[in-house]
Symmetry: C2
Subunit: 144 residues, 2 copies
Amino acid sequence: MTQSLPPTDRSLPIALIRAREGVMAPIREMLAETGLTEQQWRVLRVLAEHGQLDAKSLAERASLLLPSLTRIAATLRGKGLITQTQGDADRRRQFIAITSKGQRLIDANAPQAARIAAGFRAALGDADFDTLLDLLARLDPGAP
Amino acid sequence: MTQSLPPTDRSLPIALIRAREGVMAPIREMLAETGLTEQQWRVLRVLAEHGQLDAKSLAERASLLLPSLTRIAATLRGKGLITQTQGDADRRRQFIAITSKGQRLIDANAPQAARIAAGFRAALGDADFDTLLDLLARLDPGAP
DNA sequence: TCGCAACCATTAACATGTTAAGGAATGGCA
DNA sequence: TGCCATTCCTTAACATGTTAATGGTTGCGA
């Protein structure tokens, strides 16, 4: 089977980068007014959705590596948006929870975030949007 | 129209991140042996494909921001894989070209890179793979 | 219980992403 | 010609991505 390198234009990694760029642009625009980065917002959203989590679980659900989460948590703690407490039974664990201030920030921006998300779904159409999520999931090694 | 925030599991940005993670894993594994990062490899590939380019065009084709490219070019120059010359007619421009050493590095790794790319196409199937590239392109603001 | 492997989180070091500011060069226009 | 907005690239500053090493803790088997 002959195998030649595909042209960079049809490369899957580059297509993923560019799609992400397009998707993130309006989201970053929204977040700029809150002073949060995209990753900080993701951490808060996961905490709002799941309640208190240990660092490892939180990192997995937010698709972050632990070293990144360590730094992000320090920042969010400084902003008073999360709390962090050492585990009682297992003192290796760090439990992280959203504060009421953090929750208010989520609540205040959820409507616009939802509008943006709905906008992408509408742009592709329901069927194509779901197809896209399915295909992307098949590339995710953590989801098989 | 009511709009609630989708659960993080069904979020398009997170799906894109995770897919990218899955796609990049084998590529990074290959690149680790060459001492190149994924972005450095992308720059070399674009140069091999298009020949000498000015910095702006190169950044666009490699999906990099100019500040990133400036740093990457400095690194690649240090490794002797590219050359950089100031424009003659327009001295604002910096023209970047791949060296023979850089070309040899591309040639040496192209077969394995092609195998990896073919592997993803085979994993999804030709039809779904092309569908995916089309859907991703529709999210890219720079393409239509 | 002693010793050690495994685990959780952090720190470190380097590279890139992102935004803003700076510096050099060009082109157009009064 | 002289001014000035624009363009191209670089630098700066901060945040994250990535890999490796470190520091505490825990669990378990000899």
